[in-house]
Symmetry: C2
Subunit: 495 residues, 2 copies
């Protein structure tokens, strides 16, 4: 109703018409033509004619009448005036409801957090002393009209209040609206795109790796069984490893970013039942160092894909990136260093404990100015069957882990490309080569020397953005006890 | 051994050193410095110093000595001379082994298809009358040295021979090397990236939608059960629908490209057990036509992301794209048209049969110059519970299918955003709102009018590239009878 009145009296009517032209051009499925504006019902016309302005674009519209849409972030009553912070995907702006706009003001009195509104108003510069920092801190919207698009129930807690992890996960549809989680998952979208962009530029081809597999690719990881057709079992892939190797034979350089699945009974801050694996594989390498060079380029792009302000808002520091390449240390050297510097003797161990990884990363940051550290040459028995043994360092492998701020975020290395040796290694692990017949075809028909790596997207995101638990870096995390809702106090059919 | 000899005598030695500098700079993990070249073993030096040239770059290197690496595509013996077509990820080049290069020629005599080799030689222009079409048709490599990196077993059939689908799928590690499949899956990588790029430019944020869900989101699709922890059942997601709607409340415009899973007992040319769903969802729409405008922009970008030569090589025609928007027709109008033009009366039916979709697409191509056609306003009962009923056309929905060359490749529309109405609709379908408690939170806390769509990547690829069976447009297709290998004549643990 209100819109009709508005249309008749608004002095900017002609400008709106021009804008209307643009919108009709943009979205021809409305089948409106410019001439119909006047003829049609005013209500309909209004929506067609008036284009939404994104909040981030308001500073370029000072003095103009605009339409914005979004959520009520906070309402503050100041005597006869009401202030509302309105949020859309691009920003938050203060909106003022004045007594002279009686209709709008009376609706504003009912507004609550998370109500969805469409507001019309004039963009004003704020008085000098009322300005706050940030690009939208110098303006406000003087509201002339409001439409409520959706109401919201009373919130169980304020959206931006820090809550414990259980509460956060129980209320994800609400907590995902918090400044913090929106910043995290907007950043994560940039991180994964940086991975793809970097590899596309280096001649890699993306492929869609399968989730359903016939068996456990790596031989050893805990996998989830799936009830497939006719009583047959399938499994959820724990890695795209075998598929990306097969594709080296076809496309030479490939990557994939599939969900992979781990059924370990583990409830650590590092475990998820499903996570996004950023996998790459490349042919015609000399050794694992060629893979490390690509992984470095990818890790740098991912680490620098997030704008400075996001680090600030999350109280995370920007990553230390050396001007030279990432520091690299053999596992044995790492154990020696640890013994030398701390007296802790783990030189007989085939791996690094979590506390060793943290110590080594602190050392790399202090001594080499790097939050990233490559550890190479893990022993053969600690790596999967396809790993390539270093001819000049027998018993140790041409493989690496990439540590980032105390946590392993990537594993990679050179793979065996000789089909006879590969079959031998499969057998030596007590696996049946017959179960790998599909995979082994790729090697039988000519496979170049190759290698690759995988980066855990959620782990990388967590380390980069100072998130203690990887569950907060997965948008809908699954673990032993939870698929959206808790499994033990809900029935398993519950969504 | 041979490399040592080469190093000492090659007059381009100094040039290689320069290139070596570059490589060392690019990959510092080798820890070689320029000065070490002379001191180290010649064999090792060779690999460091000599950079691989990609075959596509050979025309810019006429007269130069280069190193290439790849697969033997075909060998042809011509008296005392041997010709080999060598293939890498960028192209295929003819290589000539001449009698004066005795060592290389004698190795060349053993070469078979798919052997992996590294070749050194001089790039020559071919004599005028020996040229063939294509960018690499005017040059050849006069081989001066060869190294075999991997041999290949005898092929069961020539790689580029057309074979039936069963044979093709049984030998994917080999058939994925064919010109045809490499063209298809390189194109598919471009198609999915076009989807992402188009949406990123329009303010959408990517998210990683979960594969493991607690129940069947849409209520009705056949889903695969997963044995989760402690005897609990989980399911494989048949769609990211509910998650993308939840995220409209947080990020307003989102997309995701997850694998989704369908357990229907269907063996048609259109069915896969898992496929890539290109999903988008957006808030603050006026109606479904806003979604259609975005879907059109995405479909155009996807259709034009593939270079002309790929269509030629696959004997596919480039898609017909109207200069105006895609033609749009209501389902009822479509049935009327069908009756009028063909006499077939399906006006009482709530949906289109496959042959109707083909007829309508032929009509749209003929009459409107478009390989794409939107069909809107399917009846309420044929759509999921969350679909938005058209106030001005009761019983019909603000929803659409996008048909492309005779096949539905996308479905979308406006969704219900009122939580009370949504709960009502869930109940009306015989579903329990309690099972949707997590999802319904998003609506309770303020949800704007919104809508979205999903495009099947494999279907789209198949229609675009003239591939009759969607299984050939999925890189490792899964169906009722196959996960890599056939399920009925192998044990279920087989990879």
């Amino acid at each position: 109703m209100w819109f009709e009145v508005y249309r008749v009296h608004n002095p900017l009517f002609r400008d709106f018409l021009k804008e209307g032209f643009y919108l009709i051009h943009r979205n021809p499925y409305n089948r409106l033509r410019a001439g119909e504006h006047i003829v049609r019902g005013q209500m309909l016309c209004y929506f067609i004619v008036m284009l939404r302005t994104l909040i981030a674009d308001l500073p370029q519209n000072v003095g103009k009448t605009v339409l914005i849409a979004g959520w009520v972030d906070v309402r503050r009553d100041h005597g006869k005036i009401i202030f509302c912070d309105i949020r859309d995907r691009t920003g938050t702006v203060q909106s003022v409801f004045l007594p002279q706009q009686g209709d709008a003001l009376s609706i504003a009195k009912d507004l609550r957090s998370e109500w969805v509104v469409r507001l019309e108003g004039v963009v004003n510069e704020r008085p000098e002393k009322m300005r706050v920092p940030g690009p939208l801190g110098s303006i406000e919207l003087e509201v002339t009209a409001i439409e409520v698009l959706a109401r919201a129930a009373e919130l169980p807690f304020e959206k931006d209040t820090p809550v414990n992890l259980e509460t956060l996960l129980n209320h994800l549809p609400l907590t995902l609206r918090s400044k913090r989680l929106r910043a995290v998952f907007t950043a994560q979208a940039r991180i994964i795109q940086a991975f793809r962009d970097t590899l596309n530029k280096q001649g890699f081809t993306e492929f869609q790796s399968p989730a359903l597999v016939g068996g456990d690719a790596e031989g050893g990881a805990a996998v989830f069984p799936v009830e497939y057709y006719y009583g047959k079992k399938a499994y959820l892939a724990s890695s795209p490893q075998l598929y990306k190797q097969i594709l080296v034979g076809s496309l030479e350089r490939v990557f994939s970013t599939p969900k992979v699945f781990r059924a370990e009974k583990s409830a650590t801050t590092r475990h998820l039942s499903e996570y996004s694996s950023l996998d790459l594989e490349m042919g015609f390498i000399n050794d694992h160092t060629d893979v490390m060079a690509v992984v470095e380029s990818v890790a740098r792009a991912m680490a620098t894909s997030v704008p400075k302000e996001v680090f600030l808002s999350l109280e995370a520091s920007q990553p230390l990136l050396p001007s030279d390449s990432f520091p690299t240390i053999k596992l044995a050297e790492a154990h020696d260093l640890l013994f030398q510097e701390t007296g802790v003797d783990k030189r007989a161990e085939p791996d690094l404990d979590p506390e060793d990884e943290r110590w080594l990363c602190a050392w790399a940051a202090r001594e080499r100015g790097s939050d990233f550290l490559f550890v190479t040459h893990y022993p053969v028995q600690k790596r999967p069957f396809y790993v390539y043994e270093d001819e000049s360092d027998p018993g140790f492998t041409k493989s690496f882990d990439l540590l980032f701020r105390g946590l392993e975020v990537s594993t990679g290395g050179q793979r065996i490309h000789n089909p006879f040796l590969l079959e031998e290694k499969i057998q030596a692990r007590g696996l049946d080569p017959k179960n790998f017949s599909f995979y082994l075809q790729a090697f039988r028909y000519g496979m170049p020397p190759h290698g690759g790596a995988a980066i855990g997207l959620e782990r990388f995101t967590a380390r980069l953005l100072n998130i203690p638990n990887v569950k907060e870096a997965a948008i809908f995390p699954r673990d032993m006890n939870r698929i959206d809702t808790l499994l033990h106090d809900t029935n398993s059919e519950e969504f």
